[in-house]
């Protein structure tokens, strides 16, 4: 049975792109356009993996990620963080906070925009085993 992946991004183009890419590679796709909808779908649909945009309206990706990790029901669902920020910038802004808050496990993978498709698929494969 195909693995279920939830793509959360406020940019419709990004949703279309990621859905098409992951569908083509045999995954079942769910989508959401903001944090609220995303968190709701995580709880109801129980995806195997979440692809999360960092910057979004109505609960940014970071906020949603924290809530996801804090909720014991869903905290074990792996998350791939997708963002336009460069890797050198992102840790300064957010990883430090995550490290400080020890209760929160960092995202399982970190993918930069523009997305390297091969890298993304490899990471998802690695996470899902």
């Amino acid at each position: 049975m195909a693995r279920k992946i939830l793509v959360i991004d406020d940019e419709p183009d990004m949703v279309t792109f990621l859905s098409t890419l992951l569908e083509d590679n045999g995954y079942e796709i769910l989508t959401a356009v903001d944090g609220d909808e995303g968190l709701h779908k995580v709880k109801t649909e129980r995806p195997d993996l979440v692809s999360l945009d960092l910057l979004m309206p109505n609960k940014t990706g970071i906020k949603m990620f924290r809530e996801l990790r804090k909720d014991p029901d869903i905290s074990n669902i792996p998350v791939v963080m997708v963002t336009g920020f460069a890797t050198d910038d992102a840790p300064n802004m957010d990883f430090k906070k995550w490290i400080n808050e020890r209760s929160i496990r960092p995202p399982e993978a970190y993918i930069e925009k523009p997305v390297d498709t091969v890298n993304l698929l490899n990471e998802i494969k690695r996470i899902l085993g």
Binding site: L18, G84, V115
Partner: protein, 753 residues
Amino acid sequence: MFKNAIHLVKRFTSSLSFKISFYAGLVMFLALLIFSYKTILSQESDSIKKTIKEAIKDSGIIKVAISNDMMTKEGERIREIVNAIGTSGEFNRINIYDRNGVLHYSTKQIAASKPADFSHDSLLHDLKSNPSVRQEISKDGSTVTVVNPILNSGNCSSASCHAHPESEKILGAVEMKIGLRNLRQEINKNSNRTIVFATALFLAISTMSGAAVLLFVNPSIKDLQEKASKMAKGEYVPSTPAPGKDEMAELTRAFDYMSLQINQRTRQLDASQRMYKALFDEAPCYLVVIDKNFRISRANGTFQAQFGDKTGQHCFVGYKGKSSCCNNCPVEKTFEDGDAHQSEEIWHINGQESHVIVKTSPIFDESGQLTEVLEMAVDVTLLKKLQFRIEQQRHEFQYLFENVPCYLTVVDHDFNIIRHNNFFVRDFGIAEGKKCFQVYKGLEEKCENCPVEKTFQNKEMNYSEEIWRRNGEDTYIIVHTAPVTDENGAITAVMEMSTNITEIKRLQGQLSILGETIAGMSHSIKNILSGLQGGVYVIDSGLTRGRDDRVKAGWDMVKHNVEKISDLVKGILYASKEREPDYKNYELGQLVTEVCDLFESRARDESVQLIRDFEHKIAPCLIDPVGLHSALSNLVSNAIYACRTAETEATHCVIVHARVYGEKIIIKVSDNGVGMSQEISENLFTKFYSTKGSKGTGLGLVITRKVITEHGGVISVESREGEGSTFTIELPFKRIIDVHKTEKANSLNFSYD
């Protein structure tokens, strides 16, 4: 020969031995003479007295002898007695007169019958009346006369012979004349003997003393003479101490000691004279002695080496190359007042102009007369040059100090300004004596972390960055302080250099904005690239799998993103270009209405109430409608977005307000959306800042501010996190003259959300 003799005599008579012997002898001689003379005189007087005494005695005897004979008138007997007495002694003559002056008896004369005339005889003129015995020495001193009156005794008046009446007291007189020649001859003989003896004594003493002097004094004197002449030549060196115990030996020893001392002094004098001579000659300055006629009488080696021997020449000719006396000549002044003088002159030495300092001092001769002047000249050309260069450098530093484009002040321990430069005066005025913190910052007490104080403490350079509020604006200043020390290295003051770095700060801000802008734009471009990449993938996938819906979706993505990149580029170009507003006559109300119309449907979609707080017709004015439209659109768009992203459940609304207040157009866009933190609102107009994720470019407000600034207006924001924001635009109200020329703006077809 004769001359030689005279010379010898003269020499002899002037010699000490002659003088001693001569005067010693002479003194003895005279003493003896005076003594003898006195003795002879008294002898003479005694002899005469004795003779007179004897004469009186003899006359008495005669009187007695003849008294009886008288009475008896035995004239012959009386004559015999008189003759006997008269021939026995020295008597020249014996006369017996009666009371009438008739000579009765005489040793020489025959008796007279007539009375003699005694009117001129000092002894016999009162023959009748003078009863006393009296005597007289003749004027030539050769005889002495004694008169002894014959008194009327009892016999005579009573006797019968030729009785004399009792009334006749004096009957006659015996006169005796005694010659003194023999006596005098004897005395003369004595005095002659005395003179001979005295002369002999004189010669003896003279010879003796002369011999003594010759024997004992002369050799020593000769010796001393020789020594003195040797000493005068500087040849005498006393060897063994002179023997003997007398005064001459003492004298010789004293002389030797004196000559030793003189030798020593002479040597010292010689040495010091040589030293002074060397000093004079080799002194590193020109030393010239000038006489009253301004002629050079002496000059030192240094002078001669430079100018040659100029002795005898006029000073002004000799080394100053002039034909007449110099003006303000210090030599002349010294001759006038006898004081030292000084002047600065320019000489030509080796064909080069040389600055010379001349000092003069008077030279007096033994009698205290000012006869010459010593002129000392020192070449100070090098010093002058150096002085000039120092002066020049001082001027340069002064110029730098005054005109360096930063505030330079020198402050003392009490923070009083003691010096400041022109640049300081330009902005702060004259402030010497005032406190630095007062002048710079208007404070009443010294600043915290004062770098001046630090420098006074650590003696090092210090600096601080400060913000001064001047004329209502913040000025960024960097203050450097450096110690000002005296010769001993002690800090006397501190120099404070304050540089206005406001412009640098502004550029720094702009640079960091530029960095952030580039980062922001890269982020936007990355988002667009992602979209393009996605579109390409979706088209690929559709083509591969024959799914037209995917091809269409992918193509839409590509078109959409190409549009986005086109807008971005346009926005960047707009923001980066310097441009003048394209002023047109336009109705303000119409412009604001157009913007509100544009966002009416979007606001509705987002459930945001768009409230128009303005008249449809406000005022026709001169504005750049295209620029202002985009600026306003940005504000309204942002306001709607702020409402949409707010997490509160309240009804959100955006109020657009526009009105003319006097000379100003005020446009306000308020919302009750998310609001902003202070940090964000402060940097809102400068940083390319977006909170809209991949949807924003960060350019919107930058462009808005640019448009407003170009219009000569200002834009400000008030915001509270969670409560909302109000953007206020203030524009100068530029009226148009002809209202009918108001044009309709072209519809604006790009936005910068």
